[in-house]
């Protein structure tokens, strides 16, 4: 097994080296390459390229004082084996002021959903009980809305960064009905509009990313065709497709060869279909070497186009990751405020049951629910 793994890793290093030399090659003729990527039709996501791919940007100086806002969420999903069809979303958030006025505000807001107006969601013209998918999207939206609430508590919005855990791209909404998608997206765009007006940059931080946008582009580069049309690939009879030698490599692996600690990559545009609904907030991303790992940072277009805001995002995220041993402190603490552990879940349902009993409601649990509470031997 160990020998097999060694062999696999050896081959993988060759793949990463090949991807790196492709990156160098395509960067030399990046404009032509960008055009080919834009015109090609593949089954993979391809990034928008507007500069050489191998450019690196050194770490800008950090302002002596700054503020970072972050939020995170977790939930207790409805359980039909419990006493009441209800759920809970807990939003954790932090405001961290650094510098001479260093101080921190940590808080969490649990919200209990139990009435029909809370539990039911419009879904393709019908009202359906919120399931885990719906609750997850609602929770993500609440995390963004919390950022706006935090901003109300910040008198000075200079050198302020809003940081979110994970992607800013609601790609999971792509397969949902338009009424549900519209409801979530309208509220999200409203958040982004306000942040833009206040000129407070927002960034989504992805640790240890598995994304392959740039590798996908380089695979188009490896394709001998002038423009790649995967559905009409003329090489399917060959033992190996011309684009497959770098398959399996991720952007993170590639940029670990490119970026020194503190450096960020060029900006690339994401091409997720959902971004058609983002308007002026279309998402760009870059990779950042935070020292301990390569992370992916996503920002709206108006941040990407404003050099001051972009530099602020770059330096503050690096500083945050340095403070948090490789992962932004603000996100660590927002998570700690948000997290709902298994014993919290049990306690939550106990409280629900107690409240019902106090009001003389008959509490009925399923036999399965009961058996989990007191398993016999």
């Amino acid at each position: 097994m160990v020998e097999e793994k060694k062999d696999f890793e050896g081959k993988f290093i060759d793949k990463i080296n090949l991807a790196y030399s492709e990156l160098e090659l395509r960067s030399r003729q990046w404009q032509e390459f960008s055009k080919k990527v834009k015109l090609s039709k593949t089954s993979w996501l391809l990034p928008g390229i507007s500069s050489p791919l191998n450019i690196t940007y050194t770490l800008p100086p950090r302002p002596s004082s700054y503020t970072v806002l972050a939020s995170d969420g977790s939930q207790i999903f409805p359980d039909r084996h419990e006493a009441l069809p209800c759920y809970l979303i807990n939003i954790g958030s932090v405001i961290l002021h650094y510098g001479t006025d260093g101080k921190a505000h940590l808080r969490s807001y649990p919200k209990f959903f139990y009435g029909d107006e809370d539990r039911l969601t419009t879904w393709d013209g019908r009202m359906i009980p919120a399931d885990s998918e719906v609750i997850s999207e609602k929770r993500t939206l609440m995390e963004f809305e919390e950022i706006l609430r935090l901003l109300e508590d910040c008198e000075n919005k200079d050198n302020t960064l809003a940081l979110c855990d994970g992607t800013l791209i609601f790609w999971r909404l792509e397969g949902t009905p338009s009424d549900f998608k519209g409801e979530i997206m309208n509220s999200f765009i409203n958040v982004l509009d306000k942040l833009k007006t206040l000129r407070v940059p927002i960034a989504g931080y992805i640790s240890y990313p598995g994304s392959i946008d740039i590798i996908n582009a380089l695979r188009v580069g490896l394709c001998p065709e002038e423009i790649s049309y995967c559905s009409q690939c003329p090489y399917t009879e060959l033992p190996e497709l011309p684009c497959s030698p770098i398959q399996g490599v991720t952007d993170r692996m590639l940029f670990s060869k490119v970026l020194e600690p503190g450096e960020r990559s060029s900006l690339f545009e994401s091409s997720s279909k959902i971004l058609e609904l983002y308007g002026e907030h279309r998402i760009s991303f870059f990779y950042l070497n935070v020292g301990e790992e390569i992370s992916r940072v996503e920002i709206p277009k108006w941040v990407a186009q404003d050099n001051d805001l972009l530099n602020l995002v770059h330096t503050l995220i690096f500083d945050q990751a340095k403070k948090g041993n490789g992962y932004p402190t603000a996100l660590i603490e927002a998570h700690e405020q948000a997290v709902v552990k298994a014993k919290d879940r049990d306690f939550f349902y106990e409280l629900v049951k107690e409240a019902l009993v106090r009001s003389d409601f008959k509490v009925t649990l399923s036999r399965k629910g009961l058996s989990k509470r007191s398993p016999g031997v």
Binding site: H97, Y98, L106
Partner: protein, 188 residues
């Protein structure tokens, strides 16, 4: 009168209070009181600063306090200071009773430091010394020394008082001369 803490755990013989400010507490061996009814009096015998979350341990950052305030301000929100109090007396509204109150102080009751006048009253007899000596899991001799010092301070170093308490301790310690001597030498 400054509030110094709030009761977060309460039992018949001792209670635990969360300090108002991180790293601050009434001193070890000092008398404190509750604002509950009845007023409960006690001696601080343990002061602890630690993480609020049981699973998280403070890191060593290699920074001065000022640098930590500037660069890691959140850690001050994640730590707590608590002090433990040994109950020595309570007031039933008319007089101080040197015995345990009928009920422990309610949770979330505020804690204040006792005035010199109150310390004088609480230490006028040797009951507090007997309460300390009959307790377990507390630093008995150190608490005797500190509380006697504060009792003496409240009386502006009244030598007769210390002689009287010394005699009480001699009766309590009986033939343990070494221990008595060790305590008394450290009080004066």
């Amino acid at each position: 009168m400054n509030r110094v803490g709030e009761v977060v755990e309460s039992s018949t013989k001792v209670f635990i209070a969360r300090s108002q400010n991180l790293g601050e507490s009434p001193y070890f061996g000092y008398f404190v009181k509750t604002n509950s009814n009845p007023v409960v009096y006690g001696l601080v015998y343990e002061i602890l600063t630690e993480s609020k979350e049981p699973g998280r341990k403070p890191n060593a950052y290699g920074m001065t306090m000022d640098e930590l305030r500037r660069e890691q301000p959140h850690i001050f929100e994640l730590l707590k200071t608590e002090f433990h109090v040994l109950i020595t007396a309570y007031s039933d509204g008319e007089k101080i009773r040197f015995s345990l109150p009928p009920l422990p102080p309610p949770i979330h009751t505020f804690i204040y430091e006792c005035s010199n006048n109150e310390v004088e009253k609480l230490t006028s007899e040797d009951f507090f010394l007997r309460t300390i000596i009959s307790s377990t899991n507390i630093p008995i001799d150190e608490l005797l020394i500190s509380s006697l010092r504060y009792a003496q301070d409240a009386r502006k170093n009244d030598k007769d008082y210390i002689v009287r308490m010394g005699k009480s301790l001699a009766r309590i310690f009986k033939d343990d001369y070494e221990r008595l001597s060790s305590v008394l030498r450290r009080v004066v």
